[in-house]
C-alpha cells in the first residue's frame, strides 16, 4: 500500500490512465529550406490554436468566464506578432529547424519572467510553458493523451496536472487523480476538491510505480493507494465507495439546517481554513463561521514578510466572504513543524518546546504589530475575532493585549478605523494554560482548545514520532479532564469555548464534548455536515451522561471500549 497526501475525499476504483510527461528533446539542426520550416511552424501554431479554441469553449462551460479568459490570452500568445516574427527571424538568420527556433524564443521570454521580483509574474512562465509545449508537440507530431475525449472511466496518474488539463478533461470519465507532486494547497488539490473528485497527491513516484492499465483502488480521505489489489480488497473498496456515496447524499440533507440537539441546545459549527481558496468548500458545507483561520500560509507562500496591506486585503476578503458570520483569525503560529526561511530561526533541539508562535511574536514586535494593524483594519468589514496561539502564562497574554492596544493607538493617530468591539481569545494548547484557565478566562472573551498540541504536550508525546504513536490518544483521561476544566473555568466567567483541533470533527469525540458543554466546534469544512448530523441526533442531556461516564473511566482503552459499545458501526470514510 502507498500513502500520499489526502487531497480530496472519496473512493476511486478503476483502471489507471498514465499520462506521461513527455520530455521534449529539442535538437538544433541546420536546414536549407527555411520556407519549409516556416510553414511547419505556422502549421504547428494553427493546429495548437484550433485545440486551444476547444479548450477555451470547454473552460467557459466547466469553469466559467473568468478562467476561460485565461485561455483567450493563451490564444493571443499564439497570434503574438513578436513571438512569431522573432521565431521566423531565428529560422532565417540561423538556418535552423522550426521547433528549435521556437523554443529559443520562448526560453528568452521565460527567462525574463523568471527573473522578475514579482512572484505572480514569475508563475506566469507556467502559462507560457503550457502553450509552447502544445506548439512544440504539434510541430513534432507527438501524440498525447487528450483528456477531453476519454473512452472509459479512468484514474488519472500524472506527475502534476496543468490548468489546461483540468479545464478540458472529461470530468464524468475521471474517477480520481493520483499525482507525484503537490500538497494540500496545490492546483490539483484545489481543483479536485471543487470538482469533488477523489485525489491523492504528493505520491513522489506514482508515475513510475504504475503502468498504464493497472487496476487501482484508493481512498482520498486517508491517502491510501493500492495498485493491482486482490479481489477481496476490490470488494472491500466497493463497499467503502457505496458507503461513502450513501453518507455523502445523506449529509446533503443537513445543508441549511440549524445545529441544534433534539432537546434544543444550539451549537456553533465552524470551519478551519488556511487560505481564501478554502472559502468555497467552507460555504458549500454550510459552515456557520470560521473557527480558525491559520494566517501562517500568508507568510509561508512568500519569500519575505507579507506587508500590512497584503495581510489586510487577505483578511478583509475572508471576513467579507463570511458576511456577518464570525471569523476567528489566529495570529502567526510559526515554529514547531512549520518553518519560515526568511525568519532565519536557528535549528533547535526541541522545536515544539522552543521559539515558536506567540513567543516569536512578542519578541519581534514590529512584525507582530504589522499583523495586528492589518487585523484591526479588516475588522470593520464583518465579525472578526483575534486569537493568540501558544499562550502559557498570563504575562504573555497581557503583553500580547498591550501590543494590540499599541496597534490601536497607531491606527488612531493615522485616523484609521477599526471595530470597537473585537473579541479577543487564546488557544488553549499548553497544559499550563489549561490549568490556569480560571485566571486567563478573566482577561479574554473566548478560548479555543487546540487538541493536537494539547495532547502532545499533556502526554509528552511527539506526534511526529511513529514509535510512540500509540501514546498519542485524544481519549487519554488526562486530556479529557483538562478539556473539561477549561470549559468549566470559561463558563464560570461567562466566556465561550470552542475547539479547533482534529478532535472537534471526530464522531466519537463530538458527543463527549457536547456533554462537557463545548460551545463551538471548528473543523475541516468537509467534516461539518457529518458533525451537524451527530449533534442534531444527540440529546444534550444524554451527552452529559456520556461525558460524566467517560470522565470516570480510568484509561483511554476503557473509554474507547465504552464508545465502541455505544456506537457499534465503524464508518470512517467521510472523515478527512
Amino acid at each position: 500500500m502507498l500513502k500520499g497526501t489526502n487531497a480530496s475525499p472519496g473512493i476511486a476504483i478503476g483502471k489507471a490512465l498514465l499520462v506521461e510527461n513527455i520530455e521534449f528533446h529539442i535538437e538544433r539542426f541546420s536546414i536549407e529550406d527555411t520556407e519549409l520550416e516556416e510553414k511547419k511552424l505556422l502549421a504547428g501554431i494553427e493546429k495548437s490554436r484550433n485545440e486551444l479554441r476547444v479548450v477555451r469553449d470547454k473552460a467557459l462551460i466547466n469553469l466559467g468566464e473568468d478562467k476561460a479568459k485565461i485561455f483567450d490570452a493563451h490564444l493571443l500568445i499564439l497570434e503574438d506578432p513578436e513571438l512569431i516574427d522573432a521565431t521566423i527571424n531565428v529560422i532565417k538568420d540561423e538556418k535552423v529547424n522550426s521547433e528549435y527556433a521556437f523554443s529559443q524564443v520562448i526560453d528568452m521570454f521565460v527567462q525574463i519572467f523568471e527573473t522578475m521580483d514579482d512572484e505572480y509574474m514569475r508563475e506566469r512562465s507556467a502559462d507560457i510553458k503550457d502553450v509552447s509545449d502544445r506548439v512544440l508537440r504539434n510541430i513534432l507530431g507527438i501524440k498525447y493523451v487528450d483528456l477531453s475525449y476519454l473512452e472509459d472511466t479512468v484514474i488519472l496518474v500524472v506527475h502534476d496536472l496543468t490548468p489546461s488539463d483540468t479545464a478540458t478533461m472529461d470530468k464524468l470519465k475521471v474517477a480520481g487523480f493520483l499525482t507525484d507532486i503537490g500538497g494540500r494547497t496545490s492546483h490539483t488539490t484545489i481543483m479536485a476538491r471543487s470538482l469533488e473528485i477523489p485525489a491523492v497527491v504528493g505520491l513522489k513516484d506514482i508515475t513510475v510505480k504504475v503502468c498504464d492499465g493497472d487496476f487501482i483502488v484508493f481512498n482520498g480521505a486517508t491517502g491510501e493507494v493500492i495498485i493491482n489489489p486482490d479481489d477481496e480488497t476490490i470488494e472491500y473498496y466497493e463497499k467503502l465507495k457505496e458507503e461513502y456515496l450513501r453518507q455523502k447524499n445523506e449529509l446533503k440533507l443537513y445543508i441549511g439546517r440549524e445545529t441544534v440537539t433534539p432537546d434544543g441546545k444550539h451549537i456553533e459549527l465552524a470551519g478551519n481554513i488556511g487560505t481564501i481558496n478554502d472559502i468555497e468548500g467552507l460555504l458549500k458545507n454550510d459552515s456557520q463561521g470560521v473557527g480558525l483561520y491559520r494566517t501562517e500560509f500568508l507568510y509561508m507562500e512568500k519569500d519575505n514578510y507579507p506587508t500590512e496591506e497584503e495581510q489586510f486585503e487577505a483578511y478583509k476578503k475572508v471576513v467579507i466572504a463570511l458576511g456577518q458570520k464570525p471569523v476567528v483569525i489566529r495570529t502567526l503560529d510559526i515554529g514547531g513543524d512549520k518553518e519560515l526561511p526568511y525568519l532565519n530561526l536557528e535549528k533547535e533541539m526541541n522545536p515544539f518546546l522552543g521559539y515558536r508562535a506567540i513567543r516569536i511574536c512578542l519578541d519581534r514586535k514590529d512584525m507582530f504589530k504589522t499583523q495586528l494593524r492589518a487585523l484591526l483594519r479588516a475588522s470593520v468589514y464583518g465579525n472578526l475575532k483575534i486569537m493568540f496561539p501558544m499562550i502559557s502564562s498570563l504575562h504573555e497574554l497581557l503583553e500580547a493585549k498591550e501590543l494590540l492596544e499599541e496597534a490601536k493607538r497607531e491606527l488612531d493617530t493615522a485616523q484609521t478605523l477599526y471595530s470597537s468591539n473585537i473579541e479577543i481569545g487564546i488557544m488553549i494548547e499548553v497544559p499550563a494554560a489549561a490549568i490556569i484557565s480560571d485566571i486567563l478566562a478573566k482577561h479574554v472573551d473566548f478560548f479555543s482548545i487546540g487538541t493536537n498540541d494539547l495532547i502532545q504536550y499533556t502526554c509528552a508525546v511527539d506526534r511526529m514520532n511513529e514509535k510512540i504513536n500509540r501514546l498519542y490518544n485524544q481519549f487519554n483521561p488526562a486530556v479529557l479532564r483538562l478539556i473539561k476544566l477549561v470549559i468549566d473555568n470559561a463558563h464560570r466567567e461567562g466566556k465561550w469555548v470552542g475547539m479547533c483541533g482534529e478532535a472537534a470533527g471526530d464522531k466519537r469525540m463530538i458527543p463527549i464534548l457536547l456533554g462537557m458543554g463545548l460551545d463551538e466546534f471548528s473543523m475541516s469544512p468537509i467534516s461539518i455536515l457529518n458533525a451537524r448530523k451527530i449533534i442534531c441526533s444527540t440529546k444534550y442531556e444524554e451527552a452529559k451522561i456520556i461525558a460524566q461516564k467517560v470522565l470516570k473511566l480510568e484509561t483511554d482503552g476503557e473509554i474507547e471500549k465504552y464508545l465502541k459499545e455505544l456506537y457499534p458501526s465503524q464508518e470512517v470514510v467521510i472523515k478527512n
Partner: protein
C-alpha cells in the same frame, strides 16, 4: 499621441488583462505601443506586454501612432479599459 494611465489590478498587468488589452488593441488600425520604465513594446504582443512586469499602481504610457484615422478612438478606448481595471476591481 500618448496618455499616461495607472494599472489598478491587484496582480498587476497580468495575463488576463493583458489578453483583453491586446484583443482590444487589435481592433484598431493604428499602431499601439506601451511604454513602462523606459521600455517601449508592441501593444499587440501578449508576451512583450507581460515581459514588462507591470505591477499594481505603476504608471504606463499608451502611445498611438496614427496610420488609420482611429488613433484618438484607440487611445480613448484603451485607456478607459485600463482604468476600469478590466472588471477585476
Amino acid at each position: 499621441m500618448e496618455k499616461v494611465v495607472v494599472i489598478k489590478n491587484e496582480k498587476g498587468f497580468h495575463i488576463r488583462p493583458v489578453g483583453e488589452f491586446v484583443k482590444k488593441a487589435n481592433e484598431f488600425k493604428s499602431k499601439v505601443y506601451i511604454e513602462c520604465k523606459g521600455r517601449r513594446v508592441n501593444a499587440r504582443s501578449v508576451m512583450a506586454l507581460m515581459s514588462l512586469g507591470v505591477k499594481k499602481d505603476s504608471e504606463i504610457s499608451i502611445i498611438v501612432e496614427d496610420e488609420g484615422t482611429d488613433a484618438a478612438d484607440a487611445l480613448k478606448v484603451l485607456s478607459e479599459l485600463i482604468e476600469s481595471g478590466f472588471g477585476e476591481l
